[in-house]
Symmetry: C2
Subunit: 212 residues, 2 copies
């Protein structure tokens, strides 16, 4: 494979968008397909912490915009996903493991050991929260690429009042809002992409310290 | 764009690998390119929390395997990245914003406001940690796709002793290890992919509750 593989082009082209086409909606099936792809991201023990609340009605998007300190993309995008992480994902592990065993993806003995290990690890609230953020973020990035592959564009927003999001949208405490992802079709011109640090500023080999 | 776009095929094909070709290394330039692509992931205020420690020597990979509860992929992959999040990323924001202003990606006035806002938000240690996990995870997922586009395969591992990783590899406290990403070339057959929950189990529209 070469340096001009479509995914590499897409990684280099993608940016957080400011503008969305107000006349192009996403239908239910398109939203489901985006969620299906996002769910293919990896997660610890295949716990699949990620949950998705697709806000597509205007009134809901407007309330979400308020909770996101007025960031316009939340309301102008065709749909804005509240991407959540399940702090109690480990409770679903026995049924998740059973499905894996039935598919031949995991031996029975290993599945039982995983359930024990995962319960021990995620009894720690900090680790459960870290994992929810990690897992939901992996899904969010996958959804961004899945959207771009379909000609859509996105804006990932982490600036929002999590408590307000939970109360306004009836989200149970077990789900922590990790990211808002506005998705729609492109519209008009955008500012230049934000530059990135040079590789030499973020990479070290074999041992620290990391670059200053 | 259609449902058989190469990135969608790749999203559906990707899985956490158990086996890597022991005879194929990655050179320095390949590692730098993977990091460059991973760095293109979005981050709050463009803070770019992600840092990468590329462990490629056998002795180092063996020590890392120990810190990862003996998971073999850490040692058998061509390179295993310790992907870290900078808990004090906000300290770099003035210079990051300056670069964005010079490129025309952000007006000067907005840059100054962002610096003030970000300092206020990330004075909260919990938010700084959440953000480090979110940002480093977005980069990790991007690196997985960048590797797959080049014919490589990966294993993302969140099971490791973070303190041990930090002390063994000379990582300063300001960087929290978020994920180990083993990268190399495929070798032999793999178990079937782990199944995923159905979309109906993870998606709600417009308002909670989330599905049980």
């Amino acid at each position: 494979m070469s340096e001009d593989h479509p995914i590499l082009q897409l990684i280099r082209r993608r940016s957080t968008r400011e503008h969305f086409d107000p006349d192009r909606a996403l239908d239910t099936q398109q939203i489901r397909e985006l969620v299906r792809d996002a769910s293919r991201a990896p997660s610890s023990f295949n716990l699949q912490h990620s949950r998705f609340l697709a806000v597509r009605r205007l009134a809901g998007k407007e309330r979400l915009r308020q909770a996101a300190y007025g960031q316009d993309q939340v309301a102008t995008a065709a749909v804005t996903f509240i991407i959540l992480g399940d702090l109690r994902a480990v409770e679903m592990l026995p049924s998740i493991m059973q499905a894996a065993v039935e598919r031949g993806a995991l031996p029975q003995g290993k599945a039982a050991a995983w359930v024990r290990m995962a319960r021990e690890i995620y009894a720690d609230e900090c680790r459960a929260r870290d994992e929810a953020f990690r897992s939901a973020s992996l899904s969010a990035m996958t959804m961004m690429f899945a959207a771009e592959a379909r000609g859509m564009v996105t804006a990932a927003l982490s600036g929002f009042d999590a408590e307000q999001v939970q109360s306004e949208f009836g989200v149970e405490d077990r789900y922590v809002p990790v990211l808002l992802l506005a998705v729609g079709y492109p519209c008009g011109s955008e500012s230049p992409r934000m530059p990135r640090l040079d590789v030499s500023q973020v990479l070290a080999f074999d041992h620290g310290p990391l670059p200053e």
